[in-house]
């Protein structure tokens, strides 16, 4: 953990000093995104040091043919890749005849990166001495417009410091890019067309197989001392997938030259004619101009923060951590488009091909529900509804037979509804994901009070999922109960176990909840009920069978210890707690062979405790405490999704030191690079867990019977903190310090909230202190 690498700051991520060793990590941490596209913090100019180039467009993927040593039946045909998109940021710079390259300078001073989260821009500045002796000051600002979400803007300034300079700016766009993680070293982009006209250029390329078309565009203006030179150039280099303009200017010592580059993508997901669209987008951007685009950016981010900011007083690292998490989540997904979802690395890296995991339902939806309009969460639910047919196909692969038909198994990883991961122990066996998708429907209604989603779309999803569990459970004569054999639970450090408690529990819950919703829709939405029942052809006999499975479900437990067992046989392990494990052995997934990890008792992320998190009200606090004490002692938290759940439960159990430690670990996972892998990208989905740690953990927020409940706590390290909740179209601000809790409400209706069980009336626009 490099504690000094990122400077503490309330609103910005700041790096000072140039270190080739941290370039790739910084490329991840200083990534920018606007929900529609994203860009790692790669340098615009040529750089010969180690770098991981990444530019990503939401919804554009490539089905790379699966590569495994031994094929097992039912493996998915492909592994979807988050595609590295064509380069729109490139600006080669030549200074007095030398190609400028930070890796080849004789000196680099005052190097500073800043990601200004409040205003949504990224800035890089430094002074450098070239081998030819020219000293220059460089300042580059870049942002991806939230308002014109196909547009990125770069303002690249160079000031020669010690002599006059001939500066040649060579901006380019280039579709000749590759992916770091291609299975077969194939190219993913096929160039279709290249055009340029005055200062504008367009490269249109198509992905192989999926045939997404993207026009990458740029428009350039050259400035001297802030004045637009209105320069055009005849000097253009163009190939089948690249266009590069060459602008030469003379700049006197001390004068500031700059190039403003507008660039980005227009894609066939949104446009019939992507090139025409690109041309129009450039016009819109030019009409606004750089200053207005930047001001709009600041305003748009202000609106996002208005809704979703969390303040923490007295702990700048904690403050920076939570804002970084909220900022990255908003850079990744803004909820405008139900075709999109939240990839685990967002727009910061390629790892974890595919965009949608159960992370969305288990971790992200609570954040988006509480900090955005409820339509955003509804769009995330609709995403799964739209992929129901493919989940039904997928279940046939897994179950291999029909019993009532229509069983749905959502894929572990997907872009388009098809499975695109390929380890059998995950894809085929980590089936609990189906439960989280049902749980999100329940959670959406619980939080928003919007039941309409269920008769409209949700019930069909629930029925598909319930049918899966009904068929996937089997009857054990030996136990005289229903069992679920051969699964991998949330703790992926176990594979192919029998009767994972979490899986069995959520399976039973899905059956019961779906059954109840069918009854409710039948009574309250009879025409929807009729439409759905005709479509899914669900008989009473099948429903009764569900009940049989649900009522007869087996749960492994230890009466002696008063805990549920993570799976059958868990107590046969060599139960050495993590605290007695030599530090040199960790992280175990890097130090131990896989079989040793599997036979150990060590837990990657909350498993039994995930069940206690989802279904808290089903268990007593004593039960929670016993299970927490037992399982936490074996948990190594080698998943980014682990500390947040533990933080919340530690807070519930008044273990505030533990809760705070877990909070820090989740909120600064990437900034402090706990897992030594931030160069691959940031852990986006777990950032929603960080938000939960504060709001549900320290704040103790729950929704029960259509009302907000809080049980406010505060780590001793903090002076105070505040967060906002969009509860049913009113914004409630909650501020907590060591003495009291304050509520204020934007909205028109009074709201009763409960604090530690006591009802408190909050009037609109007045402060209530408890």
């Amino acid at each position: 953990m490099n504690q000094d690498y990122i400077k503490p700051d309330n609103w910005s991520i700041i790096e000072e000093g140039f270190d080739v060793e941290s370039v790739k990590s910084s490329e991840s941490l200083f990534s920018i995104g606007n929900g529609a596209m994203g860009q790692r913090a790669n340098f615009e100019e040529n750089y010969t040091g180690e770098t991981f180039q990444g530019s990503y467009i939401a919804g554009i993927y490539y089905p790379d043919k699966t590569k495994v040593g031994w094929w097992k039946n039912g493996y998915p045909e492909y592994f979807a890749k988050v595609l590295n998109a064509p380069n729109w940021i490139g600006i080669d710079v030549e200074i007095n005849g030398e190609n400028f390259n930070l890796n080849a300078c004789t000196a680099v001073n005052n190097f500073r990166r800043e990601l200004n989260m409040k205003e949504g821009w990224y800035n890089r500045s430094f002074e450098a001495t070239l081998k030819n002796g020219t000293e220059i000051a460089v300042n580059v600002r870049r942002f991806l417009s939230l308002n014109l979400d196909e547009v990125g803007v770069i303002n690249y300034e160079v000031t020669p410091l010690n002599k006059d300079a001939k500066i040649i700016y060579k901006p380019y766009i280039d579709a000749g890019v590759t992916n770091e993680d291609a299975n077969w070293e194939e190219k993913f982009w096929e160039p279709l067309d290249v055009k340029h006209n005055k200062n504008e250029a367009f490269v249109t390329a198509r992905t192989f197989k999926t045939h997404f078309i993207a026009t990458t565009f740029m428009q350039n203006s050259i400035f001297l001392n802030g004045k637009d030179l209105n320069l055009t150039t005849e000097n253009v280099e163009s190939s089948k997938d690249k266009v590069q303009f060459i602008y030469a200017i003379s700049v006197a010592k001390g004068e500031k030259s700059s190039i403003r580059k507008i660039g980005g993508y227009t894609v066939s997901l949104n446009h019939e004619n992507t090139q025409l669209a690109a041309s129009n987008v450039i016009k819109s951007a030019l009409t606004k101009g750089y200053d207005l685009l930047l001001q709009e950016q600041i305003d748009a981010w202000a609106k996002i923060w208005e809704m979703s900011d969390i303040t923490i007083d007295g702990d700048v690292k904690a403050q920076q951590g939570i804002r970084f998490n909220i900022f990255q989540l908003n850079q990744t997904y803004l909820g405008k488009d139900s075709r999109l979802n939240i990839g685990p690395k967002g727009f910061t890296g390629e790892k974890y091909g595919g965009s949608t995991y159960w992370d969305t339902e288990a971790y992200c939806i609570p954040f988006y529900m509480a900090t955005k309009d409820q339509q955003v969460a509804r769009n995330l639910l609709t995403y799964r509804f739209n992929q129901l047919d493919k989940a039904i196909e997928n279940a046939q692969n897994n179950l291999g037979f029909k019993k009532g038909g229509g069983a749905a198994l959502y894929p572990m990883v997907t872009m388009n509804g098809e499975e695109c991961h390929n380890e059998w122990e995950i894809t085929h066996e980590e089936i609990h994901r189906n439960g989280a998708i049902a749980f999100a429907i329940f959670n959406y209604y619980r939080f928003t009070g919007d039941y309409s989603y269920i008769p409209e779309k949700g019930l069909e999803v629930l029925i598909g999922i319930a049918r899966f569990w009904h068929q996937r459970a089997s009857f054990s004569k030996n136990k005289n109960q229903y069992v679920i054999l051969g699964v991998t639970g949330p703790n992926e450090y176990e594979n192919n176990v029998n009767n994972n408690f979490y899986t069995n529990y959520i399976a039973k819950w899905c059956l019961d909840y779906t059954y109840e919703q069918i009854q409710k829709v039948s009574l309250e939405y009879p025409s929807d009920h009729k439409r759905i029942m005709e479509k899914v052809n669900l008989s009473d006999a099948e429903l009764q069978d569900w009940k049989k499975v649900s009522n007869g479900m087996y749960f492994p437990k230890s009466e002696e210890l008063g805990i549920y067992l993570q799976q059958d046989g868990f107590l046969d392990k060599d139960l050495v707690p993590v605290k007695d494990l030599d530090r040199s052995q960790r992280p175990i997934n890097q130090k131990w062979s896989w079989d040793r990890v599997l036979r150990s008792p060590y837990i990657k992320q909350a498993d039994v405790l995930q069940c206690f998190y989802f279904f808290e009200e089903h268990f007593s606090k004593e039960e929670l405490n016993r299970n927490f004490e037992f399982y936490e002692s074996f948990t190594v938290h080698e998943s980014s999704l682990s500390p947040c759940v533990h933080s919340i439960q530690a807070a519930v159990l008044d273990k505030m030191d533990m809760a705070y430690t877990f909070y820090l670990r989740t909120s600064r996972l990437d900034l402090d690079d706990y897992n030594k892998e931030v160069e691959e990208g940031c852990h986006i989905t777990s950032m929603a867990g960080t938000w939960m740690s504060i709001v549900e953990g320290f704040g103790g927020m729950r929704v029960k019977n259509d009302a907000l409940h809080f049980s406010p706590k505060i780590p001793k390290e903090w002076e105070g903190y505040s967060f906002k909740i969009n509860f049913r179209n009113q914004i409630l601000k909650v501020s907590i310090n060591h003495n009291d809790t304050q509520f204020s409400l934007e909205g028109s209706k009074e709201l009763t909230v409960f604090v530690n069980g006591t009802p408190i009336l909050v009037e609109p626009n007045s402060l209530v202190t408890v």
Copy 2:
């Protein structure tokens, strides 16, 4: 199953009629080998239809970099490939200006292949009409000399039938070959040198990485009507990895022309200068000449059959099946070289990279012990002894810690002692293989009476293996017993299970057996004992720990059913017997997704029953019967190693119809292509199981207290059968029919054998009838 494809014959494998669909299958079935090299039955001349080219040299492999989708810690770095060696058989033939190619002829008549197992040669004959109207008769005979085991011989005859013909023979050797199953499409051979001189040519090439050098050579003679034309040619095409001679002759209608090609390999495993060696080998072969080489071949095979033949009267398919099995085993491995072993596909295909599996110890050693000099089995044991250091390294990867040190885990698949397979569920967890390696040492001594191997080499192997089990077992407080968690048993349709009965049992047995051998060596071979104990540093305390683990070992069982459980939780499965499974669902490994296979009760090959096979005398016949009845009902026999064990146990249990059915399935697995995959190669190691089915199954042969026991049975379909056993350097022939059993003995000492428990004295060179 194509019952008519191979013609029934007592001594030959015969195919009649040309069918492009069966070319690849026939290439496997008609493969020839001599223990040092092997050759699929590829055509010598150009063939544009589907073909799988394969030529293999024993001990020459390539470490292909492992390719898996997701890397898990401890995966082997490479997957060893059986290498397709340079082509030595190629003879392009041009007839009246047309390249002869069976796939382009207008007619092919009387096409016939014969693999003469008695004499060890392969013949192909047919008449063909070329597109230019020329009709030719072709007869090609090919063999790999047993006596000069670097030499292959081809006699390729062409007779023009309807007109005079200009025939151009173009024999070549070519190192520009590829593997079908290369992970990264790399070339494996790097050409070093090409030479030719008169009718001889040499291509020397080196494998990448492993740097094996092989000189591929040829020498050609052209004949007309049986007379050597003593032709040489100046017309030679030569490239960096290929030499091709061009011999043109005029052949009148009805005259028989032929080319005799001597070819093969000399390799750096055996020679300093492979090219010089090749030159010498050609001289030796030419000195003998074709006729003598063929006669020597016939004589050498006669000697092999003399020792190992099994006759079956009244059932030609069963006779053909067992001879095919014995023939292929002898083609694959003759036991001369302790650096070699028995690959699952022998020299008939590339699949299952690596040459050595536990098949060798569990299935092949009994065959080789009984049909060869005992040195052959000793060589197979020595192979493991020589790889002990690498097995100790491998155990560190698996165990990750030392407890007494020196634990050895033999790899699942190997060429050189390193693991070269890469599925964690196999490589890391199918650890029972270690047990079979220890068992083979016990079995060798039991059969041969040669204890000297144990103090000399075996004890060190046993200690390494015992140490592994000692460390791999862990103590379950819950069960208050030692458990072995996270394993895959012989039934590979279960992965990562706890307490596989077979594994726990053989682990305990290894601990006990090794303990006993240490005591015995200590008393009887004190200097060996001292040497070994100093080397392995084994304390009394560690030995006492072994006893603790052995005495405390847990075995899963069902008191109610009176059976041992294949693993913990087996009875929780949905126990539908195979007979109630829809035929359309089989083979399940082709029809079902892997998770479904795993959670099903279906068994790929004997697992609990393998334990009953190895340790028959530890269990009562009633126990065997209960376990057989239970587990056989769930066994799908989708491993080639499964039917033989079931056949033997069915015979023990007097279920003779079942025993016969299993026998047929094992003996004609490839000839009748039960598993629809013979085109990939033959199942060599399971062929030793076929031999066991007759000798140990029907014949009931066992060795107890240094004596041979028999309990002869005979399938009702047979009139009689006979086999020979090399028991302690005397050859006992056993002939069994429905009335009696006859014994005759080659040797100098009388021998007491037991028939159904009754001692029978057999004098040398006299017949005893019981």
